[in-house]
Protein backbone atom coordinates (compact mmCIF):
# COMPACT_ATOMS: atom_id res chain seq x y z
CA UNK A 1 0.00 0.00 0.00
CA UNK A 2 1.27 3.45 -0.84
CA UNK A 3 0.50 6.44 1.30
CA UNK A 4 0.30 10.17 0.74
CA UNK A 5 -0.45 13.23 2.77
CA UNK A 6 -3.01 14.63 0.36
CA UNK A 7 -4.98 12.48 -2.01
CA UNK A 8 -7.10 14.06 -4.72
CA UNK A 9 -9.55 12.07 -6.82
CA UNK A 10 -10.30 13.98 -9.99
CA UNK A 11 -8.14 15.88 -12.43
CA UNK A 12 -10.40 18.73 -13.42
CA UNK A 13 -11.47 22.14 -12.14
CA UNK A 14 -11.93 21.07 -8.53
CA UNK A 15 -8.83 18.87 -8.49
CA UNK A 16 -6.59 21.58 -9.93
CA UNK A 17 -8.15 24.16 -7.61
CA UNK A 18 -7.35 21.89 -4.70
CA UNK A 19 -3.71 21.54 -5.74
CA UNK A 20 -3.39 25.33 -5.96
CA UNK A 21 -5.15 25.76 -2.62
CA UNK A 22 -2.91 23.25 -0.86
CA UNK A 23 0.23 24.74 -2.38
CA UNK A 24 -0.69 28.22 -1.28
CA UNK A 25 -0.72 26.98 2.29
CA UNK A 26 1.65 24.02 2.27
CA UNK A 27 4.38 24.29 -0.35
CA UNK A 28 5.91 20.86 0.27
CA UNK A 29 3.39 18.31 1.62
CA UNK A 30 3.10 15.26 -0.61
CA UNK A 31 0.16 15.39 -3.02
CA UNK A 32 -1.10 12.48 -5.08
CA UNK A 33 -3.76 13.03 -7.71
CA UNK A 34 -5.55 10.24 -9.47
CA UNK A 35 -8.03 10.28 -12.28
CA UNK A 36 -9.89 7.82 -14.37
CA UNK A 37 -9.21 9.74 -17.53
CA UNK A 38 -5.75 9.53 -18.99
CA UNK A 39 -5.33 13.07 -20.29
CA UNK A 40 -3.39 15.82 -18.59
CA UNK A 41 -5.70 18.28 -16.79
CA UNK A 42 -7.91 19.57 -19.56
CA UNK A 43 -10.77 21.92 -19.95
CA UNK A 44 -13.94 19.88 -19.97
CA UNK A 45 -16.15 22.62 -21.39
CA UNK A 46 -13.86 22.78 -24.42
CA UNK A 47 -14.75 19.33 -25.66
CA UNK A 48 -17.48 20.76 -27.85
CA UNK A 49 -15.10 23.44 -29.16
CA UNK A 50 -12.66 20.64 -29.98
CA UNK A 51 -15.29 18.75 -31.88
CA UNK A 52 -16.32 21.92 -33.66
CA UNK A 53 -12.71 22.59 -34.64
CA UNK A 54 -12.51 25.81 -32.65
CA UNK A 55 -9.61 24.57 -30.55
CA UNK A 56 -7.01 21.95 -31.27
CA UNK A 57 -5.75 19.21 -28.98
CA UNK A 58 -2.98 21.42 -27.61
CA UNK A 59 -5.57 24.03 -26.75
CA UNK A 60 -7.37 21.62 -24.44
CA UNK A 61 -4.78 21.87 -21.67
CA UNK A 62 -6.19 23.64 -18.63
CA UNK A 63 -2.76 24.10 -17.13
CA UNK A 64 0.69 24.00 -18.74
CA UNK A 65 2.13 20.55 -19.44
CA UNK A 66 4.63 20.82 -16.59
CA UNK A 67 2.03 22.04 -14.11
CA UNK A 68 2.08 19.00 -11.86
CA UNK A 69 5.87 18.79 -11.92
CA UNK A 70 6.05 22.44 -10.91
CA UNK A 71 3.54 21.88 -8.15
CA UNK A 72 5.31 18.69 -7.02
CA UNK A 73 2.23 16.52 -7.48
CA UNK A 74 2.39 12.79 -8.11
CA UNK A 75 -0.21 11.97 -10.73
CA UNK A 76 -1.81 8.62 -11.37
CA UNK A 77 -3.75 9.09 -14.61
CA UNK A 78 -5.95 6.37 -16.04
CA UNK A 79 -6.47 4.96 -12.57
CA UNK A 80 -10.06 4.61 -11.42
CA UNK A 81 -10.91 4.88 -7.76
CA UNK A 82 -13.48 2.31 -6.73
CA UNK A 83 -14.06 2.68 -3.01
CA UNK A 84 -13.34 5.07 -0.19
CA UNK A 85 -12.79 3.63 3.28
CA UNK A 86 -12.77 6.53 5.70
CA UNK A 87 -12.15 4.37 8.74
CA UNK A 88 -8.94 2.96 7.31
CA UNK A 89 -8.21 6.25 5.53
CA UNK A 90 -7.65 4.45 2.26
CA UNK A 91 -8.91 4.55 -1.29
CA UNK A 92 -9.09 1.32 -3.21
CA UNK A 93 -8.72 1.52 -6.97
CA UNK A 94 -10.41 -0.56 -9.63
CA UNK A 95 -7.07 -2.20 -10.40
CA UNK A 96 -6.70 -3.28 -6.76
CA UNK A 97 -4.15 -0.66 -5.62
CA UNK A 98 -4.79 0.74 -2.16
CA UNK A 99 -3.67 4.26 -1.35
CA UNK A 100 -3.54 5.62 2.19
CA UNK A 101 -4.15 9.32 2.83
CA UNK A 102 -4.21 11.87 5.59
CA UNK A 103 -6.57 14.22 3.76
CA UNK A 104 -8.76 13.24 0.87
CA UNK A 105 -10.57 15.34 -1.71
CA UNK A 106 -13.31 13.66 -3.65
CA UNK A 107 -13.72 15.57 -6.89
CA UNK A 108 -14.74 12.94 -9.35
CA UNK A 109 -17.38 15.12 -10.90
CA UNK A 110 -20.65 14.12 -12.44
CA UNK A 111 -21.86 11.50 -14.80
CA UNK A 112 -24.20 12.05 -17.71
CA UNK A 113 -27.78 10.97 -17.28
CA UNK A 114 -28.95 8.36 -19.77
CA UNK A 115 -32.68 8.08 -20.27
CA UNK A 116 -33.82 4.90 -18.51
CA UNK A 117 -36.24 3.63 -21.13
CA UNK A 118 -35.06 4.74 -24.49
CA UNK A 119 -34.81 1.72 -26.77
CA UNK A 120 -31.70 1.85 -28.88
CA UNK A 121 -29.86 4.16 -26.53
CA UNK A 122 -26.89 1.81 -26.39
CA UNK A 123 -26.57 1.39 -30.13
CA UNK A 124 -23.49 2.64 -32.00
CA UNK A 125 -24.01 6.22 -33.02
CA UNK A 126 -25.64 7.21 -29.73
CA UNK A 127 -23.35 9.16 -27.44
CA UNK A 128 -23.30 11.13 -24.26
CA UNK A 129 -20.90 14.03 -24.44
CA UNK A 130 -18.99 14.93 -21.31
CA UNK A 131 -15.39 13.82 -21.85
CA UNK A 132 -12.52 14.34 -24.21
CA UNK A 133 -12.88 10.65 -24.98
CA UNK A 134 -16.48 11.27 -26.05
CA UNK A 135 -15.31 14.06 -28.35
CA UNK A 136 -12.79 11.80 -30.02
CA UNK A 137 -15.30 8.96 -30.34
CA UNK A 138 -17.93 11.23 -31.86
CA UNK A 139 -15.46 12.74 -34.28
CA UNK A 140 -14.30 9.31 -35.42
CA UNK A 141 -17.84 8.06 -35.73
CA UNK A 142 -18.86 10.99 -37.89
CA UNK A 143 -15.89 10.46 -40.15
CA UNK A 144 -16.20 6.71 -40.36
CA UNK A 145 -19.92 6.77 -41.08
CA UNK A 146 -20.02 9.95 -43.10
CA UNK A 147 -22.76 11.32 -40.85
CA UNK A 148 -24.68 14.28 -42.29
CA UNK A 149 -27.50 14.69 -39.82
CA UNK A 150 -27.69 14.57 -36.06
CA UNK A 151 -30.27 14.73 -33.34
CA UNK A 152 -29.41 16.28 -30.01
CA UNK A 153 -31.71 15.26 -27.19
CA UNK A 154 -31.76 18.02 -24.62
CA UNK A 155 -31.78 21.78 -25.09
CA UNK A 156 -29.64 22.58 -22.10
CA UNK A 157 -26.14 23.93 -22.00
CA UNK A 158 -24.31 20.78 -23.13
CA UNK A 159 -26.94 20.10 -25.75
CA UNK A 160 -26.68 23.51 -27.30
CA UNK A 161 -22.89 23.51 -27.20
CA UNK A 162 -23.04 20.16 -29.00
CA UNK A 163 -25.28 21.76 -31.59
CA UNK A 164 -22.69 24.49 -32.15
CA UNK A 165 -19.97 21.90 -32.63
CA UNK A 166 -21.96 19.71 -34.97
CA UNK A 167 -23.16 22.68 -37.01
CA UNK A 168 -19.60 23.87 -37.29
CA UNK A 169 -18.72 20.48 -38.71
CA UNK A 170 -21.42 20.93 -41.32
CA UNK A 171 -24.03 18.58 -39.86
CA UNK A 172 -27.72 19.31 -40.05
CA UNK A 173 -28.96 19.25 -36.50
CA UNK A 174 -32.33 18.82 -34.86
CA UNK A 175 -32.73 19.60 -31.17
CA UNK A 176 -35.40 17.92 -29.05
CA UNK A 177 -36.33 19.70 -25.87
CA UNK A 178 -38.88 18.29 -23.45
CA UNK A 179 -39.61 21.67 -21.89
CA UNK A 180 -41.49 24.36 -23.77
CA UNK A 181 -38.20 26.23 -24.44
CA UNK A 182 -34.45 25.79 -24.53
CA UNK A 183 -32.20 26.48 -21.55
CA UNK A 184 -35.39 26.39 -19.48
CA UNK A 185 -33.56 26.15 -16.19
CA UNK A 186 -31.31 29.14 -16.59
CA UNK A 187 -33.10 31.48 -18.96
CA UNK A 188 -36.51 33.08 -19.09
CA UNK A 189 -38.90 33.01 -22.04
CA UNK A 190 -37.67 36.14 -23.79
CA UNK A 191 -34.04 35.13 -23.68
CA UNK A 192 -34.86 31.61 -24.80
CA UNK A 193 -36.81 33.04 -27.73
CA UNK A 194 -33.88 35.17 -28.81
CA UNK A 195 -31.58 32.17 -28.70
CA UNK A 196 -34.10 30.00 -30.50
CA UNK A 197 -34.15 32.67 -33.19
CA UNK A 198 -30.37 32.54 -33.45
CA UNK A 199 -30.49 28.76 -33.75
CA UNK A 200 -33.11 28.94 -36.46
CA UNK A 201 -31.11 31.44 -38.48
CA UNK A 202 -28.16 29.05 -38.28
CA UNK A 203 -30.34 26.37 -39.86
CA UNK A 204 -30.92 24.35 -36.72
CA UNK A 205 -34.31 22.72 -36.30
CA UNK A 206 -35.74 23.03 -32.83
CA UNK A 207 -38.61 20.93 -31.53
CA UNK A 208 -39.88 21.73 -28.06
CA UNK A 209 -42.30 19.90 -25.76
CA UNK A 210 -41.06 16.65 -27.14
CA UNK A 211 -38.36 14.02 -26.89
CA UNK A 212 -37.32 10.80 -28.55
CA UNK A 213 -39.38 7.73 -27.91
CA UNK A 214 -36.82 5.42 -29.40
CA UNK A 215 -33.67 5.42 -31.43
CA UNK A 216 -34.26 3.95 -34.86
CA UNK A 217 -31.61 1.54 -36.05
CA UNK A 218 -30.28 0.55 -39.42
CA UNK A 219 -27.72 -2.23 -39.66
CA UNK A 220 -27.50 -2.09 -35.89
CA UNK A 221 -26.46 1.58 -35.91
CA UNK A 222 -28.41 4.69 -35.03
CA UNK A 223 -30.31 6.01 -38.03
CA UNK A 224 -32.68 8.49 -36.43
CA UNK A 225 -35.30 8.88 -33.75
CA UNK A 226 -39.01 8.48 -33.49
CA UNK A 227 -41.00 11.05 -31.54
CA UNK A 228 -44.03 10.27 -29.37
CA UNK A 229 -46.30 11.55 -32.15
CA UNK A 230 -44.80 9.07 -34.55
CA UNK A 231 -42.75 11.61 -36.46
CA UNK A 232 -39.40 10.25 -37.57
CA UNK A 233 -36.23 12.24 -37.84
CA UNK A 234 -33.37 10.74 -39.75
CA UNK A 235 -29.95 11.12 -38.09
CA UNK A 236 -26.81 9.05 -38.15
CA UNK A 237 -25.78 10.50 -34.81
CA UNK A 238 -27.73 10.95 -31.60
CA UNK A 239 -26.34 12.94 -28.72
CA UNK A 240 -27.91 12.44 -25.31
CA UNK A 241 -27.60 15.67 -23.38
CA UNK A 242 -30.26 15.57 -20.75
CA UNK A 243 -28.07 16.49 -17.84
CA UNK A 244 -25.42 15.31 -15.41
CA UNK A 245 -25.73 13.99 -11.89
CA UNK A 246 -23.14 13.85 -9.15
CA UNK A 247 -21.29 10.54 -9.46
CA UNK A 248 -21.77 8.94 -6.02
CA UNK A 249 -20.59 5.44 -6.90
CA UNK A 250 -17.29 5.94 -5.05
CA UNK A 251 -18.80 6.75 -1.70
CA UNK A 252 -21.74 4.36 -1.64
CA UNK A 253 -21.78 2.62 1.71
CA UNK A 254 -18.74 4.54 2.99
CA UNK A 255 -20.63 6.48 5.64
CA UNK A 256 -19.98 9.75 3.79
CA UNK A 257 -23.28 11.61 3.86
CA UNK A 258 -24.95 12.30 0.54
CA UNK A 259 -28.19 13.69 -0.75
CA UNK A 260 -28.18 14.59 -4.43
CA UNK A 261 -24.42 14.98 -4.11
CA UNK A 262 -21.84 14.57 -1.36
CA UNK A 263 -22.78 16.95 1.43
CA UNK A 264 -19.98 19.44 2.10
CA UNK A 265 -19.94 22.09 4.81
CA UNK A 266 -18.76 25.69 4.53
CA UNK A 267 -15.15 24.50 4.64
CA UNK A 268 -15.96 21.85 2.02
CA UNK A 269 -15.47 19.05 4.56
CA UNK A 270 -17.79 16.06 4.52
CA UNK A 271 -19.25 14.58 7.65
CA UNK A 272 -16.24 12.28 7.84
CA UNK A 273 -12.96 13.50 9.31
CA UNK A 274 -10.25 14.19 6.75
CA UNK A 275 -12.54 13.84 3.75
CA UNK A 276 -13.51 16.80 1.61
CA UNK A 277 -15.65 17.09 -1.48
CA UNK A 278 -15.73 19.69 -4.23
CA UNK A 279 -17.04 20.29 -7.71
CA UNK A 280 -19.84 18.63 -9.59
CA UNK A 281 -19.92 15.72 -7.16
CA UNK A 282 -20.47 17.96 -4.15
CA UNK A 283 -23.55 19.51 -2.69
CA UNK A 284 -22.38 22.66 -0.97
CA UNK A 285 -23.68 26.03 0.11
CA UNK A 286 -25.75 27.99 -2.38
CA UNK A 287 -25.45 31.73 -1.91
CA UNK A 288 -29.01 32.97 -2.28
CA UNK A 289 -30.92 30.24 -0.47
CA UNK A 290 -28.34 29.44 2.15
CA UNK A 291 -29.09 25.79 1.42
CA UNK A 292 -26.77 23.12 0.16
CA UNK A 293 -27.32 22.50 -3.52
CA UNK A 294 -25.39 21.03 -6.36
CA UNK A 295 -24.46 23.62 -8.96
CA UNK A 296 -22.41 21.87 -11.62
CA UNK A 297 -20.45 24.74 -13.11
CA UNK A 298 -16.77 25.31 -13.62
CA UNK A 299 -16.17 28.41 -11.44
CA UNK A 300 -17.84 26.79 -8.44
CA UNK A 301 -15.85 23.61 -8.93
CA UNK A 302 -12.59 25.52 -8.97
CA UNK A 303 -13.45 27.69 -5.98
CA UNK A 304 -14.65 24.76 -3.91
CA UNK A 305 -11.55 22.79 -4.80
CA UNK A 306 -9.33 25.73 -3.92
CA UNK A 307 -10.99 26.32 -0.56
CA UNK A 308 -10.97 22.62 0.24
CA UNK A 309 -7.25 22.60 -0.54
CA UNK A 310 -6.52 25.51 1.78
CA UNK A 311 -8.45 23.83 4.59
CA UNK A 312 -6.90 20.43 3.96
CA UNK A 313 -3.50 22.01 4.35
CA UNK A 314 -4.41 23.46 7.72
CA UNK A 315 -5.65 26.84 6.56
CA UNK A 316 -9.01 28.22 7.44
CA UNK A 317 -11.11 29.43 4.59
CA UNK A 318 -14.83 29.59 4.30
CA UNK A 319 -16.83 29.04 1.13
CA UNK A 320 -18.99 32.07 0.53
CA UNK A 321 -21.55 30.04 -1.40
CA UNK A 322 -21.97 29.30 -5.05
CA UNK A 323 -24.24 31.02 -7.48
CA UNK A 324 -25.81 29.29 -10.44
CA UNK A 325 -24.61 31.21 -13.46
CA UNK A 326 -23.68 30.61 -17.01
CA UNK A 327 -22.41 32.18 -20.13
CA UNK A 328 -23.17 30.75 -23.53
CA UNK A 329 -22.70 32.09 -26.95
CA UNK A 330 -24.88 30.28 -29.41
CA UNK A 331 -24.63 31.10 -33.09
CA UNK A 332 -22.97 34.41 -32.32
CA UNK A 333 -25.51 35.51 -29.72
CA UNK A 334 -24.00 35.89 -26.26
CA UNK A 335 -26.07 35.19 -23.19
CA UNK A 336 -25.17 35.46 -19.55
CA UNK A 337 -27.49 34.55 -16.73
CA UNK A 338 -27.13 34.13 -13.00
CA UNK A 339 -29.20 33.41 -9.95
CA UNK A 340 -32.97 33.45 -10.07
CA UNK A 341 -34.03 34.30 -13.60
CA UNK A 342 -37.68 33.26 -13.63
CA UNK A 343 -38.93 34.08 -10.15
CA UNK A 344 -42.25 32.69 -8.94
CA UNK A 345 -45.21 35.06 -8.94
CA UNK A 346 -46.37 36.76 -5.79
CA UNK A 347 -43.36 36.24 -3.60
CA UNK A 348 -42.17 39.79 -3.58
CA UNK A 349 -39.74 39.63 -6.48
CA UNK A 350 -39.31 42.69 -8.61
CA UNK A 351 -38.52 42.14 -12.26
CA UNK A 352 -37.10 44.77 -14.59
CA UNK A 353 -36.68 44.09 -18.26
CA UNK A 354 -35.60 45.85 -21.39
CA UNK A 355 -35.88 44.10 -24.71
CA UNK A 356 -34.76 45.37 -28.07
CA UNK A 357 -35.70 42.71 -30.61
CA UNK A 358 -34.01 44.65 -33.39
CA UNK A 359 -30.54 44.57 -31.91
CA UNK A 360 -31.30 41.30 -30.10
CA UNK A 361 -30.36 42.97 -26.84
CA UNK A 362 -32.16 41.92 -23.73
CA UNK A 363 -31.63 42.76 -20.08
CA UNK A 364 -33.57 41.34 -17.21
CA UNK A 365 -32.94 41.95 -13.56
CA UNK A 366 -34.59 40.15 -10.68
CA UNK A 367 -34.59 41.84 -7.31
CA UNK A 368 -35.91 41.05 -3.88
CA UNK A 369 -35.97 43.56 -1.03
CA UNK A 370 -33.80 45.95 -3.08
CA UNK A 371 -31.13 43.33 -3.56
CA UNK A 372 -30.32 41.71 -6.88
CA UNK A 373 -30.93 37.98 -6.93
CA UNK A 374 -30.62 37.20 -10.61
CA UNK A 375 -30.28 38.52 -14.13
CA UNK A 376 -30.25 37.64 -17.79
CA UNK A 377 -28.30 39.52 -20.43
CA UNK A 378 -28.53 38.69 -24.10
CA UNK A 379 -26.47 40.37 -26.78
CA UNK A 380 -24.59 43.13 -25.04
CA UNK A 381 -23.22 41.17 -22.11
CA UNK A 382 -20.35 43.53 -21.31
CA UNK A 383 -19.87 44.26 -17.64
CA UNK A 384 -22.19 41.48 -16.56
CA UNK A 385 -19.67 40.79 -13.80
CA UNK A 386 -20.55 44.01 -12.05
CA UNK A 387 -24.08 42.72 -11.62
CA UNK A 388 -22.82 39.33 -10.52
CA UNK A 389 -20.68 41.16 -7.98
CA UNK A 390 -23.70 43.01 -6.65
CA UNK A 391 -25.51 39.71 -6.14
CA UNK A 392 -22.54 38.05 -4.50
CA UNK A 393 -21.72 41.03 -2.35
CA UNK A 394 -25.40 41.42 -1.37
CA UNK A 395 -25.21 45.09 -2.12
CA UNK A 396 -28.37 47.10 -1.65
CA UNK A 397 -29.30 48.70 -4.97
CA UNK A 398 -32.27 50.76 -3.93
CA UNK A 399 -32.64 53.68 -6.31
CA UNK A 400 -30.22 52.24 -8.85
CA UNK A 401 -32.68 49.96 -10.60
CA UNK A 402 -33.11 52.03 -13.74
CA UNK A 403 -29.41 52.63 -14.08
CA UNK A 404 -28.72 48.92 -13.86
CA UNK A 405 -30.85 48.41 -16.94
CA UNK A 406 -28.90 50.89 -19.04
CA UNK A 407 -26.29 49.34 -21.32
CA UNK A 408 -23.65 51.87 -20.24
CA UNK A 409 -24.23 51.12 -16.60
CA UNK A 410 -21.02 50.86 -14.65
CA UNK A 411 -19.25 50.98 -11.34
CA UNK A 412 -19.73 54.70 -11.07
CA UNK A 413 -23.37 54.32 -10.12
CA UNK A 414 -22.64 51.92 -7.29
CA UNK A 415 -22.42 52.55 -3.57
CA UNK A 416 -18.97 53.93 -2.84
CA UNK A 417 -18.06 51.18 -0.41
CA UNK A 418 -18.63 48.41 -2.89
CA UNK A 419 -16.94 50.35 -5.65
CA UNK A 420 -13.84 51.08 -3.61
CA UNK A 421 -13.56 47.47 -2.51
CA UNK A 422 -13.68 46.05 -6.00
CA UNK A 423 -11.44 48.67 -7.54
CA UNK A 424 -8.87 47.96 -4.84
CA UNK A 425 -8.73 44.42 -6.22
CA UNK A 426 -10.24 42.96 -3.08
CA UNK A 427 -13.09 41.15 -4.84
CA UNK A 428 -16.68 41.39 -3.68
CA UNK A 429 -16.42 39.77 -0.30
CA UNK A 430 -13.50 40.99 1.70
Amino acid sequence: MTSTKYLIIGNSAAGVGCVEGIRQTDPTGEITLLAKETEHAYSRPLITYLLGGKVDEAGMAYRPADFYVQQRVKTMLGVEAAKVDPAAKTVTCADGQVIGYEKLLIANGGKPITPPNLPGADAPGVFTFTTWGDARAIEQYIAANDVKEAVVIGGGLIGLKSVEALTARGLKVTVLELAPRILAVTLDQDASDLLAGALASAGVKLLTNTTAQRVDLENGKAAGVTLPDGQKIAAGLVILAIGVLPDLSLVAGSGIATERGILADERLATNVEGVYAAGDVAQALELLSGERRSIPIWPNAYRQGFIAGVNMAGGDKVYEGGLAMNSVEICGLATISAGITSPPEGQGYQVLTKLDPKTKNYRKLVLKDHHLVGYVLVGDVDRAGIITGLIKGRVEVKGLEEKLLAPDFGLISLPAMHRERVTAGLGVWS
Binding site: A13, P45, L46, P299, M325, A338, I386, G393, I412
Partner: protein, 147 residues
Protein backbone atom coordinates in the same frame (compact mmCIF):
# COMPACT_ATOMS: atom_id res chain seq x y z
CA UNK B 1 2.31 44.17 -7.06
CA UNK B 2 2.00 46.92 -9.66
CA UNK B 3 -1.45 48.44 -9.84
CA UNK B 4 -2.82 51.25 -11.92
CA UNK B 5 -4.62 53.58 -9.57
CA UNK B 6 -7.28 55.96 -10.83
CA UNK B 7 -7.55 59.27 -9.02
CA UNK B 8 -11.17 60.04 -9.47
CA UNK B 9 -10.84 63.65 -8.36
CA UNK B 10 -8.49 64.41 -11.26
CA UNK B 11 -10.04 62.32 -14.01
CA UNK B 12 -11.37 64.79 -16.55
CA UNK B 13 -13.19 62.43 -18.86
CA UNK B 14 -10.99 63.14 -21.86
CA UNK B 15 -10.63 59.41 -22.45
CA UNK B 16 -7.17 59.69 -23.91
CA UNK B 17 -6.40 56.60 -21.86
CA UNK B 18 -8.88 54.67 -23.99
CA UNK B 19 -7.36 56.11 -27.14
CA UNK B 20 -3.80 55.21 -26.23
CA UNK B 21 -4.78 51.81 -24.84
CA UNK B 22 -6.36 50.95 -28.13
CA UNK B 23 -3.30 52.07 -30.04
CA UNK B 24 -0.97 50.23 -27.74
CA UNK B 25 -2.87 47.01 -28.43
CA UNK B 26 -3.23 47.56 -32.15
CA UNK B 27 -1.20 45.90 -34.83
CA UNK B 28 0.14 49.12 -36.30
CA UNK B 29 0.80 50.95 -32.98
CA UNK B 30 0.00 54.07 -34.96
CA UNK B 31 -2.79 56.34 -33.73
CA UNK B 32 -4.33 57.12 -37.05
CA UNK B 33 -3.92 53.70 -38.59
CA UNK B 34 -5.19 51.96 -35.49
CA UNK B 35 -8.36 54.01 -35.49
CA UNK B 36 -8.87 53.93 -39.22
CA UNK B 37 -8.22 50.25 -39.74
CA UNK B 38 -8.75 48.44 -36.47
CA UNK B 39 -11.39 50.33 -34.54
CA UNK B 40 -14.35 48.10 -33.85
CA UNK B 41 -12.16 45.11 -34.31
CA UNK B 42 -10.18 45.87 -31.18
CA UNK B 43 -11.40 47.60 -28.07
CA UNK B 44 -9.59 49.55 -25.40
CA UNK B 45 -9.01 47.59 -22.22
CA UNK B 46 -9.70 50.61 -20.11
CA UNK B 47 -13.07 52.29 -19.84
CA UNK B 48 -13.86 55.72 -18.50
CA UNK B 49 -17.13 55.83 -16.66
CA UNK B 50 -18.89 59.11 -16.11
CA UNK B 51 -21.77 60.29 -14.00
CA UNK B 52 -22.29 64.04 -14.05
CA UNK B 53 -19.01 65.75 -13.26
CA UNK B 54 -17.41 62.62 -11.85
CA UNK B 55 -15.52 60.19 -14.00
CA UNK B 56 -12.85 57.58 -13.59
CA UNK B 57 -11.10 54.94 -15.58
CA UNK B 58 -11.60 51.28 -14.88
CA UNK B 59 -9.31 48.51 -15.94
CA UNK B 60 -8.28 45.13 -14.56
CA UNK B 61 -7.57 45.45 -10.85
CA UNK B 62 -5.43 42.32 -10.68
CA UNK B 63 -7.49 41.05 -7.76
CA UNK B 64 -5.89 39.03 -5.02
CA UNK B 65 -8.27 36.16 -5.66
CA UNK B 66 -9.39 36.89 -9.20
CA UNK B 67 -12.86 35.63 -9.94
CA UNK B 68 -11.99 35.64 -13.65
CA UNK B 69 -9.15 33.18 -13.18
CA UNK B 70 -11.40 30.87 -11.20
CA UNK B 71 -14.07 31.08 -13.85
CA UNK B 72 -11.77 30.75 -16.85
CA UNK B 73 -12.29 27.27 -18.16
CA UNK B 74 -9.46 27.25 -20.66
CA UNK B 75 -6.70 28.44 -18.37
CA UNK B 76 -6.17 31.50 -20.56
CA UNK B 77 -6.44 33.68 -17.49
CA UNK B 78 -3.76 33.16 -14.95
CA UNK B 79 -2.53 34.87 -11.85
CA UNK B 80 1.20 34.91 -11.38
CA UNK B 81 1.60 34.21 -7.67
CA UNK B 82 5.01 35.85 -7.64
CA UNK B 83 4.03 39.20 -9.14
CA UNK B 84 0.29 39.15 -8.49
CA UNK B 85 -0.37 40.04 -12.11
CA UNK B 86 -3.39 38.53 -13.78
CA UNK B 87 -2.47 37.68 -17.33
CA UNK B 88 -4.58 36.67 -20.27
CA UNK B 89 -3.40 34.53 -23.16
CA UNK B 90 -5.59 35.32 -26.17
CA UNK B 91 -4.24 32.25 -27.91
CA UNK B 92 -5.98 30.03 -25.42
CA UNK B 93 -9.16 32.08 -25.12
CA UNK B 94 -12.27 30.78 -26.83
CA UNK B 95 -14.55 33.67 -25.99
CA UNK B 96 -16.89 31.89 -23.59
CA UNK B 97 -17.30 35.10 -21.54
CA UNK B 98 -17.19 33.32 -18.21
CA UNK B 99 -14.72 36.01 -17.15
CA UNK B 100 -17.04 38.77 -18.31
CA UNK B 101 -19.73 37.13 -16.20
CA UNK B 102 -17.73 37.33 -12.98
CA UNK B 103 -15.36 40.32 -13.18
CA UNK B 104 -16.66 42.61 -10.43
CA UNK B 105 -15.34 45.75 -12.10
CA UNK B 106 -16.55 44.90 -15.58
CA UNK B 107 -13.01 45.36 -16.81
CA UNK B 108 -12.89 42.47 -19.24
CA UNK B 109 -14.17 43.35 -22.65
CA UNK B 110 -15.02 41.34 -25.70
CA UNK B 111 -12.70 41.99 -28.53
CA UNK B 112 -15.45 41.85 -31.02
CA UNK B 113 -13.87 40.61 -34.15
CA UNK B 114 -11.44 38.23 -32.57
CA UNK B 115 -14.09 36.85 -30.28
CA UNK B 116 -11.61 36.72 -27.48
CA UNK B 117 -11.58 38.47 -24.16
CA UNK B 118 -9.35 41.50 -23.69
CA UNK B 119 -8.12 42.99 -20.49
CA UNK B 120 -5.42 45.27 -19.18
CA UNK B 121 -2.01 43.64 -19.41
CA UNK B 122 -0.25 46.58 -17.73
CA UNK B 123 1.56 46.99 -21.07
CA UNK B 124 4.12 44.61 -19.64
CA UNK B 125 5.82 44.40 -23.00
CA UNK B 126 6.48 48.09 -23.34
CA UNK B 127 7.05 49.10 -19.74
CA UNK B 128 4.85 51.93 -18.61
CA UNK B 129 1.17 51.36 -19.31
CA UNK B 130 0.05 53.53 -22.22
CA UNK B 131 -2.89 54.90 -20.23
CA UNK B 132 -0.65 56.05 -17.40
CA UNK B 133 1.97 57.48 -19.75
CA UNK B 134 -0.62 59.49 -21.66
CA UNK B 135 -2.97 60.67 -18.95
CA UNK B 136 -2.66 64.45 -19.26
CA UNK B 137 -3.66 65.07 -15.66
CA UNK B 138 -1.81 62.26 -13.89
CA UNK B 139 -5.16 60.87 -12.82
CA UNK B 140 -3.80 57.44 -13.62
CA UNK B 141 -0.70 56.48 -11.75
CA UNK B 142 1.12 53.25 -11.26
CA UNK B 143 1.54 52.23 -7.69
CA UNK B 144 3.51 49.43 -6.22
CA UNK B 145 1.88 47.81 -3.23
CA UNK B 146 3.63 45.15 -1.27
CA UNK B 147 1.12 42.87 0.32
Amino acid sequence: MKRIVAKEEYCMNCRLCEVYCLVSHSRSKDLIKAFRQERGEIVPRITVERLGPVSFAVQCRHCDEPACVEACMTGALHRDPATGEVTHDPQRCVGCWMCVMVCPTGAIRRDRNGHVAAKCDLCLETGTPACVANCPNEALVIEEDND
